[in-house]
Symmetry: C2
Subunit: 209 residues, 2 copies
Protein backbone atom coordinates (compact mmCIF):
# COMPACT_ATOMS: atom_id res chain seq x y z
CA UNK A 1 0.00 0.00 0.00
CA UNK A 2 2.10 2.88 -1.30
CA UNK A 3 -0.21 5.45 0.32
CA UNK A 4 1.16 4.67 3.77
CA UNK A 5 4.81 5.40 3.03
CA UNK A 6 5.97 8.77 4.36
CA UNK A 7 5.75 11.74 1.98
CA UNK A 8 3.85 9.63 -0.52
CA UNK A 9 1.73 11.58 -2.96
CA UNK A 10 -0.81 10.01 -5.25
CA UNK A 11 -0.22 10.24 -8.98
CA UNK A 12 -3.25 12.50 -9.17
CA UNK A 13 -1.68 14.96 -6.72
CA UNK A 14 1.59 14.90 -8.59
CA UNK A 15 -0.21 15.65 -11.83
CA UNK A 16 -2.13 18.54 -10.28
CA UNK A 17 1.10 20.02 -8.96
CA UNK A 18 2.66 19.60 -12.38
CA UNK A 19 -0.25 21.44 -13.97
CA UNK A 20 0.17 24.31 -11.51
CA UNK A 21 3.84 24.54 -12.37
CA UNK A 22 3.05 24.64 -16.08
CA UNK A 23 0.58 27.49 -15.54
CA UNK A 24 3.09 29.50 -13.53
CA UNK A 25 6.08 28.91 -15.75
CA UNK A 26 4.61 28.71 -19.25
CA UNK A 27 1.26 30.47 -19.03
CA UNK A 28 -2.29 29.31 -19.44
CA UNK A 29 -2.15 28.81 -23.17
CA UNK A 30 0.56 26.19 -22.76
CA UNK A 31 -1.47 24.03 -20.43
CA UNK A 32 -1.97 21.03 -22.69
CA UNK A 33 -2.36 17.41 -21.74
CA UNK A 34 1.04 16.73 -23.23
CA UNK A 35 2.86 19.54 -21.41
CA UNK A 36 1.32 18.63 -18.05
CA UNK A 37 2.13 14.97 -18.52
CA UNK A 38 5.71 15.80 -19.51
CA UNK A 39 6.10 18.06 -16.47
CA UNK A 40 4.99 15.17 -14.29
CA UNK A 41 7.32 12.75 -16.08
CA UNK A 42 4.45 10.77 -17.50
CA UNK A 43 2.91 10.15 -20.89
CA UNK A 44 -0.28 11.74 -22.11
CA UNK A 45 -1.94 8.33 -22.00
CA UNK A 46 -0.91 8.00 -18.38
CA UNK A 47 -2.43 11.35 -17.50
CA UNK A 48 -5.68 10.39 -19.18
CA UNK A 49 -5.71 7.23 -17.13
CA UNK A 50 -6.02 9.34 -13.97
CA UNK A 51 -8.16 12.18 -15.35
CA UNK A 52 -10.53 11.15 -18.12
CA UNK A 53 -10.53 14.63 -19.66
CA UNK A 54 -8.83 17.98 -19.43
CA UNK A 55 -11.91 19.36 -17.67
CA UNK A 56 -11.53 16.69 -15.00
CA UNK A 57 -7.89 17.63 -14.44
CA UNK A 58 -8.67 21.30 -14.01
CA UNK A 59 -11.67 20.57 -11.84
CA UNK A 60 -9.35 18.66 -9.52
CA UNK A 61 -6.88 21.58 -9.52
CA UNK A 62 -9.59 23.99 -8.43
CA UNK A 63 -10.97 21.61 -5.81
CA UNK A 64 -7.57 21.18 -4.21
CA UNK A 65 -6.82 24.90 -4.27
CA UNK A 66 -10.24 25.73 -2.81
CA UNK A 67 -9.81 23.17 -0.05
CA UNK A 68 -6.40 24.66 0.79
CA UNK A 69 -7.87 28.12 0.96
CA UNK A 70 -10.68 27.04 3.28
CA UNK A 71 -8.16 25.24 5.48
CA UNK A 72 -6.02 28.38 5.51
CA UNK A 73 -8.63 30.80 6.75
CA UNK A 74 -10.40 28.36 9.06
CA UNK A 75 -7.13 27.41 10.68
CA UNK A 76 -6.27 31.08 11.08
CA UNK A 77 -9.71 31.66 12.57
CA UNK A 78 -9.18 28.90 15.10
CA UNK A 79 -5.89 30.49 16.19
CA UNK A 80 -7.40 33.94 16.59
CA UNK A 81 -8.85 35.21 19.89
CA UNK A 82 -12.62 35.57 20.03
CA UNK A 83 -14.25 38.96 19.72
CA UNK A 84 -15.49 41.37 17.08
CA UNK A 85 -13.83 41.11 13.68
CA UNK A 86 -12.38 37.71 14.45
CA UNK A 87 -12.24 36.53 10.84
CA UNK A 88 -10.94 39.86 9.59
CA UNK A 89 -8.19 39.72 12.19
CA UNK A 90 -7.48 36.09 11.33
CA UNK A 91 -7.08 36.68 7.61
CA UNK A 92 -5.12 39.87 8.09
CA UNK A 93 -2.85 38.35 10.72
CA UNK A 94 -2.22 34.93 9.22
CA UNK A 95 -2.91 35.01 5.50
CA UNK A 96 -1.08 38.26 4.80
CA UNK A 97 1.90 37.88 7.01
CA UNK A 98 4.97 37.45 4.85
CA UNK A 99 6.19 36.98 1.32
CA UNK A 100 6.51 33.22 1.54
CA UNK A 101 2.78 32.84 1.77
CA UNK A 102 2.23 34.68 -1.43
CA UNK A 103 4.52 32.61 -3.56
CA UNK A 104 3.39 29.28 -2.26
CA UNK A 105 -0.25 29.01 -1.39
CA UNK A 106 -1.69 31.84 -3.43
CA UNK A 107 0.22 30.98 -6.56
CA UNK A 108 -1.40 27.58 -6.58
CA UNK A 109 -4.90 28.96 -6.08
CA UNK A 110 -4.44 31.49 -8.81
CA UNK A 111 -3.07 28.88 -11.18
CA UNK A 112 -6.17 26.82 -10.70
CA UNK A 113 -8.55 29.74 -11.09
CA UNK A 114 -6.92 30.96 -14.28
CA UNK A 115 -6.73 27.50 -15.77
CA UNK A 116 -10.43 27.11 -15.09
CA UNK A 117 -11.20 30.53 -16.50
CA UNK A 118 -9.51 29.58 -19.74
CA UNK A 119 -10.82 26.04 -19.99
CA UNK A 120 -14.37 26.32 -18.75
CA UNK A 121 -15.49 29.10 -16.40
CA UNK A 122 -18.02 26.87 -14.66
CA UNK A 123 -15.12 24.88 -13.22
CA UNK A 124 -14.30 27.61 -10.70
CA UNK A 125 -17.39 26.65 -8.69
CA UNK A 126 -15.45 25.05 -5.79
CA UNK A 127 -13.42 28.23 -5.36
CA UNK A 128 -16.59 30.29 -5.53
CA UNK A 129 -18.03 28.12 -2.77
CA UNK A 130 -14.89 28.65 -0.68
CA UNK A 131 -15.37 32.39 -0.99
CA UNK A 132 -19.07 32.14 -0.20
CA UNK A 133 -18.16 30.34 3.02
CA UNK A 134 -15.61 33.00 3.92
CA UNK A 135 -18.18 35.72 3.34
CA UNK A 136 -20.59 33.94 5.66
CA UNK A 137 -18.04 34.30 8.44
CA UNK A 138 -17.47 37.90 7.41
CA UNK A 139 -21.16 38.77 7.41
CA UNK A 140 -21.42 37.89 11.10
CA UNK A 141 -18.04 39.14 12.14
CA UNK A 142 -19.52 41.59 14.64
CA UNK A 143 -18.09 44.82 13.25
CA UNK A 144 -20.01 47.69 11.63
CA UNK A 145 -21.30 46.84 8.18
CA UNK A 146 -18.65 46.64 5.51
CA UNK A 147 -15.56 46.82 7.69
CA UNK A 148 -14.53 43.17 7.72
CA UNK A 149 -15.66 42.93 4.12
CA UNK A 150 -13.34 45.76 3.18
CA UNK A 151 -10.40 44.03 4.82
CA UNK A 152 -10.78 40.78 2.93
CA UNK A 153 -11.61 42.59 -0.30
CA UNK A 154 -8.45 44.68 -0.08
CA UNK A 155 -6.43 41.52 0.48
CA UNK A 156 -8.03 39.99 -2.58
CA UNK A 157 -7.09 43.11 -4.48
CA UNK A 158 -3.45 42.82 -3.45
CA UNK A 159 -3.37 39.18 -4.42
CA UNK A 160 -5.09 39.60 -7.79
CA UNK A 161 -3.20 42.74 -8.77
CA UNK A 162 -0.08 40.69 -8.25
CA UNK A 163 -0.99 37.47 -10.02
CA UNK A 164 -2.48 39.30 -12.98
CA UNK A 165 0.68 41.32 -13.29
CA UNK A 166 -1.17 44.63 -13.01
CA UNK A 167 1.02 45.78 -10.15
CA UNK A 168 4.45 44.24 -9.56
CA UNK A 169 4.95 42.30 -6.36
CA UNK A 170 6.09 44.78 -3.76
CA UNK A 171 6.41 43.58 -0.22
CA UNK A 172 6.57 47.14 1.04
CA UNK A 173 3.15 47.77 -0.48
CA UNK A 174 1.78 44.69 1.27
CA UNK A 175 3.11 46.02 4.57
CA UNK A 176 1.64 49.48 4.02
CA UNK A 177 -1.81 48.13 3.18
CA UNK A 178 -1.68 45.71 6.09
CA UNK A 179 -0.90 48.56 8.48
CA UNK A 180 -3.76 50.66 7.16
CA UNK A 181 -6.18 47.76 7.48
CA UNK A 182 -4.94 46.95 10.97
CA UNK A 183 -5.57 50.50 11.99
CA UNK A 184 -9.04 50.38 10.48
CA UNK A 185 -9.79 47.33 12.63
CA UNK A 186 -8.29 48.91 15.72
CA UNK A 187 -10.49 51.95 15.32
CA UNK A 188 -13.46 49.61 15.51
CA UNK A 189 -12.19 47.96 18.65
CA UNK A 190 -10.72 44.88 16.98
CA UNK A 191 -6.94 45.08 17.40
CA UNK A 192 -4.93 42.64 15.33
CA UNK A 193 -2.44 40.47 17.20
CA UNK A 194 1.24 40.70 16.39
CA UNK A 195 1.97 38.97 13.10
CA UNK A 196 3.14 35.40 13.26
CA UNK A 197 5.00 34.81 10.04
CA UNK A 198 5.62 31.15 10.77
CA UNK A 199 1.93 30.54 11.37
CA UNK A 200 1.18 31.28 7.78
CA UNK A 201 3.26 28.52 6.27
CA UNK A 202 1.98 26.05 8.81
CA UNK A 203 -1.60 26.21 7.71
CA UNK A 204 -0.90 25.65 4.05
CA UNK A 205 -1.44 22.18 2.70
CA UNK A 206 0.48 22.59 -0.52
CA UNK A 207 4.07 21.54 -0.44
CA UNK A 208 4.81 21.31 -4.09
CA UNK A 209 7.12 23.98 -5.34
Amino acid sequence: MPESTPNAQSSADLLISAAERVVVRQGISNVTLESVAAEAGMSKGGLLHHFPSKDALIRAMVERAAANWVTCYESAYAQTPEGPGRMARAVLGHCLSDAECWTDELRSSSSAVFAALAQNPTLIEPMRAAYAKLHEYIAQDGLPEGVSETVVTAIDGLWLDWVLGLVPLDQARVVRVRRALSELLKQHGAPVQAMDAAGCAKVHGTRNA
Copy 2:
Protein backbone atom coordinates in the same frame (compact mmCIF):
# COMPACT_ATOMS: atom_id res chain seq x y z
CA MET B 1 -13.43 60.88 -44.86
CA PRO B 2 -15.69 58.45 -43.00
CA GLU B 3 -14.12 59.43 -39.67
CA SER B 4 -15.94 62.74 -39.67
CA THR B 5 -19.46 61.38 -39.85
CA PRO B 6 -21.24 61.39 -36.50
CA ASN B 7 -20.96 58.21 -34.41
CA ALA B 8 -18.51 56.78 -36.89
CA GLN B 9 -16.25 54.07 -35.53
CA SER B 10 -13.28 52.71 -37.38
CA SER B 11 -13.32 49.08 -38.40
CA ALA B 12 -10.54 48.50 -35.91
CA ASP B 13 -12.68 49.85 -33.07
CA LEU B 14 -15.63 47.76 -34.15
CA LEU B 15 -13.44 44.66 -34.18
CA ILE B 16 -12.06 45.39 -30.72
CA SER B 17 -15.56 45.82 -29.37
CA ALA B 18 -16.56 42.57 -31.04
CA ALA B 19 -13.63 40.80 -29.39
CA GLU B 20 -14.69 42.12 -25.99
CA ARG B 21 -18.20 40.84 -26.55
CA VAL B 22 -16.89 37.40 -27.48
CA VAL B 23 -14.80 37.25 -24.30
CA VAL B 24 -17.77 38.22 -22.13
CA ARG B 25 -20.32 35.99 -23.79
CA GLN B 26 -18.34 32.93 -24.83
CA GLY B 27 -15.23 32.91 -22.67
CA ILE B 28 -11.57 33.34 -23.43
CA SER B 29 -11.10 29.98 -25.07
CA ASN B 30 -13.60 30.92 -27.76
CA VAL B 31 -11.75 34.05 -28.80
CA THR B 32 -10.64 32.93 -32.23
CA LEU B 33 -10.06 35.04 -35.29
CA GLU B 34 -13.13 33.48 -36.85
CA SER B 35 -15.44 34.09 -33.90
CA VAL B 36 -14.33 37.70 -33.50
CA ALA B 37 -14.71 38.37 -37.21
CA ALA B 38 -18.16 36.78 -37.22
CA GLU B 39 -19.21 38.86 -34.20
CA ALA B 40 -18.17 41.97 -36.09
CA GLY B 41 -19.97 40.83 -39.24
CA MET B 42 -16.75 40.42 -41.15
CA SER B 43 -14.69 37.59 -42.59
CA LYS B 44 -11.51 36.29 -41.02
CA GLY B 45 -9.55 37.68 -43.93
CA GLY B 46 -11.09 41.07 -43.28
CA LEU B 47 -10.03 41.00 -39.66
CA LEU B 48 -6.50 40.06 -40.64
CA HIS B 49 -6.50 42.99 -43.02
CA HIS B 50 -6.81 45.34 -40.02
CA PHE B 51 -4.78 43.37 -37.47
CA PRO B 52 -1.94 41.34 -38.97
CA SER B 53 -2.01 38.80 -36.16
CA LYS B 54 -4.04 37.75 -33.16
CA ASP B 55 -1.42 39.30 -30.89
CA ALA B 56 -1.93 42.63 -32.64
CA LEU B 57 -5.69 42.45 -32.07
CA ILE B 58 -5.33 41.74 -28.39
CA ARG B 59 -2.64 44.34 -27.98
CA ALA B 60 -5.07 46.88 -29.40
CA MET B 61 -7.79 45.66 -26.99
CA VAL B 62 -5.51 46.20 -24.01
CA GLU B 63 -4.33 49.59 -25.26
CA ARG B 64 -7.86 50.87 -25.66
CA ALA B 65 -8.96 49.52 -22.27
CA ALA B 66 -5.89 51.00 -20.57
CA ALA B 67 -6.47 54.37 -22.21
CA ASN B 68 -10.08 54.32 -21.04
CA TRP B 69 -9.00 53.53 -17.51
CA VAL B 70 -6.49 56.36 -17.44
CA THR B 71 -9.11 58.74 -18.81
CA CYS B 72 -11.54 57.52 -16.17
CA TYR B 73 -9.38 58.20 -13.14
CA GLU B 74 -7.73 61.36 -14.49
CA SER B 75 -11.09 62.83 -15.38
CA ALA B 76 -12.36 61.94 -11.92
CA TYR B 77 -9.25 63.53 -10.43
CA ALA B 78 -9.87 66.75 -12.34
CA GLN B 79 -13.42 66.91 -10.99
CA THR B 80 -12.35 66.35 -7.40
CA PRO B 81 -11.52 69.20 -4.98
CA GLU B 82 -7.89 69.60 -4.09
CA GLY B 83 -6.58 68.43 -0.76
CA PRO B 84 -5.22 65.29 0.89
CA GLY B 85 -6.34 61.99 -0.61
CA ARG B 86 -7.52 63.66 -3.79
CA MET B 87 -7.02 60.63 -6.02
CA ALA B 88 -8.45 58.24 -3.45
CA ARG B 89 -11.51 60.46 -3.19
CA ALA B 90 -11.70 60.72 -6.96
CA VAL B 91 -11.62 56.99 -7.60
CA LEU B 92 -13.95 56.22 -4.72
CA GLY B 93 -16.41 58.93 -5.69
CA HIS B 94 -16.46 58.56 -9.45
CA CYS B 95 -15.25 55.09 -10.38
CA LEU B 96 -17.27 53.19 -7.82
CA SER B 97 -20.48 55.10 -7.95
CA ASP B 98 -23.18 52.90 -9.45
CA ALA B 99 -23.84 49.57 -11.09
CA GLU B 100 -23.78 50.91 -14.63
CA CYS B 101 -20.09 51.62 -14.38
CA TRP B 102 -19.30 48.05 -13.51
CA THR B 103 -21.05 46.43 -16.40
CA ASP B 104 -19.79 48.80 -19.04
CA GLU B 105 -16.31 50.16 -18.51
CA LEU B 106 -14.85 47.53 -16.23
CA ARG B 107 -16.14 44.59 -18.22
CA SER B 108 -14.25 45.82 -21.21
CA SER B 109 -11.00 46.30 -19.30
CA SER B 110 -11.26 42.87 -17.78
CA SER B 111 -11.99 41.30 -21.15
CA ALA B 112 -8.81 42.76 -22.52
CA VAL B 113 -6.69 41.73 -19.55
CA PHE B 114 -7.93 38.17 -19.61
CA ALA B 115 -7.58 37.84 -23.34
CA ALA B 116 -3.99 39.04 -23.00
CA LEU B 117 -3.35 36.68 -20.12
CA ALA B 118 -4.45 33.74 -22.23
CA GLN B 119 -2.78 34.80 -25.46
CA ASN B 120 0.51 36.29 -24.31
CA PRO B 121 0.99 37.73 -20.82
CA THR B 122 3.43 40.37 -22.03
CA LEU B 123 0.55 42.04 -23.88
CA ILE B 124 -0.90 43.43 -20.65
CA GLU B 125 1.93 45.95 -20.51
CA PRO B 126 -0.23 48.99 -21.40
CA MET B 127 -2.62 48.16 -18.57
CA ARG B 128 0.31 47.68 -16.21
CA ALA B 129 1.55 51.11 -17.22
CA ALA B 130 -1.90 52.59 -16.54
CA TYR B 131 -1.77 51.15 -13.04
CA ALA B 132 1.78 52.37 -12.50
CA LYS B 133 0.61 55.88 -13.35
CA LEU B 134 -2.32 55.60 -10.94
CA HIS B 135 0.02 54.46 -8.19
CA GLU B 136 2.22 57.47 -8.80
CA TYR B 137 -0.73 59.70 -8.00
CA ILE B 138 -1.51 57.52 -5.00
CA ALA B 139 2.03 57.64 -3.66
CA GLN B 140 1.85 61.41 -3.34
CA ASP B 141 -1.77 61.63 -2.33
CA GLY B 142 -0.92 63.37 0.94
CA LEU B 143 -2.48 60.89 3.35
CA PRO B 144 -0.63 58.66 5.85
CA GLU B 145 1.22 55.82 4.17
CA GLY B 146 -0.98 53.08 2.81
CA VAL B 147 -4.34 54.75 3.20
CA SER B 148 -4.98 55.83 -0.39
CA GLU B 149 -3.32 52.62 -1.52
CA THR B 150 -5.77 50.60 0.52
CA VAL B 151 -8.71 52.40 -1.05
CA VAL B 152 -7.72 51.67 -4.62
CA THR B 153 -6.63 48.15 -3.76
CA ALA B 154 -9.98 47.35 -2.19
CA ILE B 155 -11.73 48.67 -5.29
CA ASP B 156 -9.54 46.44 -7.42
CA GLY B 157 -10.52 43.56 -5.17
CA LEU B 158 -14.22 44.24 -5.69
CA TRP B 159 -13.76 44.47 -9.42
CA LEU B 160 -11.63 41.35 -9.77
CA ASP B 161 -13.69 39.22 -7.40
CA TRP B 162 -16.60 40.04 -9.60
CA VAL B 163 -15.12 39.51 -13.04
CA LEU B 164 -13.41 36.30 -12.02
CA GLY B 165 -16.71 35.02 -10.67
CA LEU B 166 -15.27 34.43 -7.20
CA VAL B 167 -17.96 36.53 -5.56
CA PRO B 168 -21.27 37.23 -7.33
CA LEU B 169 -22.00 40.84 -8.26
CA ASP B 170 -23.77 42.35 -5.29
CA GLN B 171 -24.49 46.04 -5.43
CA ALA B 172 -25.18 46.06 -1.71
CA ARG B 173 -21.67 44.80 -1.09
CA VAL B 174 -20.26 47.58 -3.27
CA VAL B 175 -22.19 50.12 -1.21
CA ARG B 176 -21.01 48.66 2.10
CA VAL B 177 -17.36 48.65 1.07
CA ARG B 178 -17.65 52.15 -0.35
CA ARG B 179 -19.08 53.43 2.94
CA ALA B 180 -16.30 51.80 4.94
CA LEU B 181 -13.65 53.27 2.66
CA SER B 182 -15.29 56.70 2.76
CA GLU B 183 -15.22 56.59 6.52
CA LEU B 184 -11.57 55.58 6.46
CA LEU B 185 -10.80 58.63 4.34
CA LYS B 186 -12.93 60.90 6.53
CA GLN B 187 -11.01 59.78 9.59
CA HIS B 188 -7.87 61.00 7.88
CA GLY B 189 -9.40 64.36 7.09
CA ALA B 190 -10.26 63.60 3.47
CA PRO B 191 -14.07 63.52 3.24
CA VAL B 192 -15.51 62.15 0.02
CA GLN B 193 -18.01 64.33 -1.79
CA ALA B 194 -21.55 63.13 -2.34
CA MET B 195 -21.61 60.52 -5.06
CA ASP B 196 -22.43 61.62 -8.55
CA ALA B 197 -23.76 58.60 -10.34
CA ALA B 198 -24.04 60.38 -13.65
CA GLY B 199 -20.45 61.54 -13.48
CA CYS B 200 -19.29 57.99 -13.78
CA ALA B 201 -20.85 57.25 -17.13
CA LYS B 202 -19.69 60.57 -18.48
CA VAL B 203 -16.01 59.79 -18.17
CA HIS B 204 -16.15 56.46 -19.92
CA GLY B 205 -15.10 56.32 -23.52
CA THR B 206 -16.50 52.92 -24.37
CA ARG B 207 -19.99 52.89 -25.73
CA ASN B 208 -20.24 49.39 -27.05
CA ALA B 209 -22.59 47.18 -25.14
